[in-house]
Symmetry: C2
């Protein structure tokens, strides 16, 4: 406990005390609170194992409600777990770290308060989603693009940024594009970072660091305040755009490919939104387990995986990204990509025109549904010309449009890879009780580090009998996130136990090897900063200064 | 004083108590301390008015010394003012904010601890200078470039970054390129941000945000810790490079030019290192006051300024920057610049080859020193061909090389614009008792905001009879720093009083108009966050948590 009198870690919040606070909210305010057992069961669902059930869920309609709730939480000494949209799948969804913590849901605070077209930023509330922001920009501000993740389109723009999630364009570092926060602190006071809002300071949403110490970082991946509003930088729609995919021919060249990607990014040829994916990632996106294997094995047999990859023309490793700029810049980048990757595999550029051609071809194939011979012949011709199977036709337009910041339900359906349910139009793994845990160490972006980490983790996935899913995301020019997903069957107790054991082993082994995760969910918070005690002490000192009673999100930082 | 029991602001530290601490340092350690009156007089010099004299100056040789000094400072309750190199000219130099504060000088901690060529970063101590780092890279790691400011080459790389100074390349946001800090806190404890150093965490210097709350921002423009080591990101030497200058033809187009620069930067055509300068900036760089006016007027008469501008072919407004990338990218950017700026003025590209030609020409002119007629004829031809006077010949290679991150003494000599001394080879305004105050508001990067701020400030410079010096620096794609310098004669009490009055009026008027400075020196610290009391309160809470006795740099944040 160090020298500070912090609250000891608690196992669970006392439900009878929660009830007293809920009664007070109902008696004194018009704020909606839910505490029916069935609703709380649903609210406590998550794709990770052993999620904690909240003691109640409060729906704030505005910043005044957040202030009111924080004041009541102090009065009754009840801890609060703020949630923006709760789409934190793989990291704990909307569930708190400590049983019976009261969830403060911000999804109803969903106003886009401002879009500044000249200066390319928006000011939004935490309930604003990628889908909503994109639709708003397309309709009212067509010169602006937003970044999005390839995760849930209904995820919160601010929630993802505060957890330091990644996107797909040159604005992929979502926390890096936040500028100007309004925050309600644990004591119920409200503060705006830097110099404050326009009127007091015109650069609140344009100058990230403000004046004096830069404090916005305090409110990311932490429990120091509830962010109720923030500026988000947007991209200027480029004159020209192309996306590309690259299929690596030989596994032995993975290390070299990583080094090439780093150099291209350092030199400003590629944006850092570049993603590398392995075969399981691609398979999970485009298909599902063969019906006969669902529920019968926790890991695809090698032969089956190989056969599926051949059928779908999926390589062991591929990468892709977007290219934007003037026509001249896009041309120069395409030519440099060709030069750098020559001899290593197949590089394919995708343009809006090419997407239209592919969509026409797909429509033609659909029309031939009663003529399998003709379909088959056309498919073979397509495969011979493009090197891709016709089964990949639906994928390509989604790859192309997500790189422009168009959120898509397409990719997040990968969560249903092992599920007995067919992939739904709108994926919602919590609703469908799908199991999945993200494990996301970050490594220096060198072929050596990336392949060393993979060599450490892949055998562990094999030992615990799970598919090795690895997406390598450039966080910046120098760091790569090795995002691994453990898909497991929540209805199978032993598979769930194995998934937890794999997660723990991965955490321990990669930590010992000197790799840190870039982000953790509720499943990993208890062991945060284990190897950095003096940093943990500093975090505790600051937490104690701002929240001595531990009201905000207990369990999120070390007690 | 809010609810916190902070130390009240003090006028001066008690010198007798300082002496007790100095004696203890001498008795118990081998750390060098200086407290001879003449040395302290020099240490208390600054280009700003009324600098405060330190009570002693301690020279730390390593992080252990910093820890020892902080422990002794706590034991004797003596405040400490850390200084990296002290080249903070225009913002207070090496002098503290409160009289008799003990300066902890870090210039002897000047080791380049690591250069990672693959990942393009260095780990350096606070005493490492731009000149030193550049020379080290040129010699040992020629694939790497560093950014530098166009300020003093012997300035500290870390000191400038922690004060959030600006450079000239795409890595111009110096705080933005710091990654991984080692910090000694006020209580003498040492912490490394994020996950800590390699061995414990491989990404300490490659992943800026670390894991958990991002705390590095706490240590910039503040008094929360002494940074003793940090990672600094470096640029990969590009395949192709060109610099350019643009002379605006008509003042009325300034607003339009600013909007064009913003769009070019938002679109990734220009890097944010772009600088716009007015006539006085250019004159101060290339020449000095006419001898007969030195000491006789505090502001150039309009006719004289106009005549000097014509002679040197200096426009009212110009801007310049660097272009890097593959040859194809540089070509595409050059063509886009030409397209965007067509009809607005004269665009000139500078390449290494062109610099060699100009240097050859300059050597030829020097050889003709005895033949003024020939010199004059050659000069006229040069002017007719290039649109530039031969007097600008020495400038061009410096503009070109600084954009590549080559620090230069050339620009900082502008401080001697009004000085009776000739411009020295190595500028040192403190040594030469030159007067200068930076005033640096930041505005949203629109022509409207920039011209509104200029319209507010220029008449104040006229009213107080000072030359209106304005350099507009892109801090990022959305914000522009309007850097103004007040050159004044320190030996003239009334001119000094006018300079102070101008500074105060500028601060007040721009603050009322909603513009914040991006940085302040000791001259402005007393009024920090005047318009943001709730932010000031948060800063105080954090300061109190880390430094309840106010040991570190009193006066730097609001008491």
């Amino acid at each position: 406990m160090d020298e500070l009198n912090l609250q000891p870690p608690i196992e669970a919040v006392d439900v009878t005390r929660v009830r007293v606070m809920v009664d007070a909210i109902r008696a004194r305010t018009t704020i909606e609170v839910v505490d029916e057992p069935a609703a709380l069961d649903l609210a406590g669902r998550a794709t990770v194992p052993d999620p904690k059930r909240p003691g109640a869920v409060i729906f704030a309609a505005g910043v005044e409600d957040v202030v009111t709730v924080m004041n009541l939480a102090n009065e009754f000494q009840i801890p609060i777990w703020p949630v923006s949209k709760g789409r934190n799948w793989g990291y704990g969804s909307a569930a708190p770290a400590v049983e019976n913590t009261v969830v403060l849901h911000l999804e109803r605070m969903n106003r886009i308060l401002e879009v500044n077209e000249d200066l390319a930023y928006a000011v939004v509330e935490p309930g604003v989603t990628y889908r909503q922001l994109k639709a708003h920009l397309d309709r009212h501000h067509p010169t602006l693009w937003c970044d999005c993740s390839d995760g849930p389109p209904d995820g919160s723009v601010l929630g993802n940024a505060l957890e330091r999630g990644l996107g797909v364009t040159s604005y992929n570092d979502h926390f890096g594009t936040l500028c100007g926060l309004e925050v309600v602190l644990a004591d119920g006071s409200m503060v705006r970072t830097g110099g404050g809002e326009p009127g007091r300071c015109h650069t609140w949403n344009t100058h990230k660091w403000g004046l004096g110490p830069y404090l916005e970082g305090l409110f990311s991946q932490s429990n120091f305040g509830v962010v109720t509003k923030a500026g988000v930088w947007l991209l200027r729609r480029p004159e020209a755009f192309a996306s590309f995919t690259f299929d690596l021919a030989r596994d032995a060249d993975l290390s070299r490919m990583i080094d090439i990607i780093r150099e291209l990014t350092l030199k400003g040829v590629l944006a850092s939104g570049t993603h590398v994916v392995n075969d399981i990632v691609a398979l999970a996106v485009v298909t599902q387990y063969p019906r006969e294997l669902v529920g019968r094995c926790s890991r695809l047999p090698d032969a089956t995986r190989g056969e599926m990859c051949r059928r779908f023309t999926i390589p062991n490793w591929a990468f892709g990204g977007g290219i934007m700029g003037t026509s001249g810049q896009v041309r120069a980048i395409r030519s440099e990509l060709r030069r750098s990757l020559r001899g290593l595999g197949r590089l394919t550029f995708i343009t809006d025109g090419r997407v239209r051609v592919l969509e026409g071809f797909r429509a033609l194939m659909d029309k031939l549904v009663g003529q399998p011979a003709l379909q088959g012949a056309l498919g073979s011709i397509f495969r011979a010309l493009s090197g891709k199977s016709v089964e990949l036709l639906p994928l390509i337009p989604h790859v192309h449009s997500v790189m422009k910041g168009q959120p898509s339900d397409y990719f997040v359906r990968h969560a249903y890879f092992k599920s007995p349910l067919p992939k739904p139009e709108f994926a919602h793994p919590d609703r469908d009780d799908v199991g999945g845990i993200w494990f996301a160490p970050i490594v220096p972006c060198t072929g050596q580090h990336v392949t060393a980490l993979i060599a450490l983790c892949r055998p562990l996935f094999e030992r615990y009998q799970f598919d090795f899913y690895a997406a390598l995301l450039m966080q910046n020019s120098r760091s790569m996130i090795v995002l691994m997903s453990i898909f497991y069957d929540k209805s199978d107790a032993s598979e769930t136990a194995q998934a937890k054991a794999l997660y723990e082993t991965l955490s321990e082994q990669t930590g010992l090897a000197g790799y840190q995760v870039y982000r953790t969910g509720t499943q990993g918070m208890a062991k945060l900063f284990k190897s950095a005690p003096e940093f943990a002490r500093l975090v505790r000192q600051l937490k104690h200064a701002l929240d001595p009673a531990g009201i905000l999100a207990p369990g999120k930082t070390p007690p």
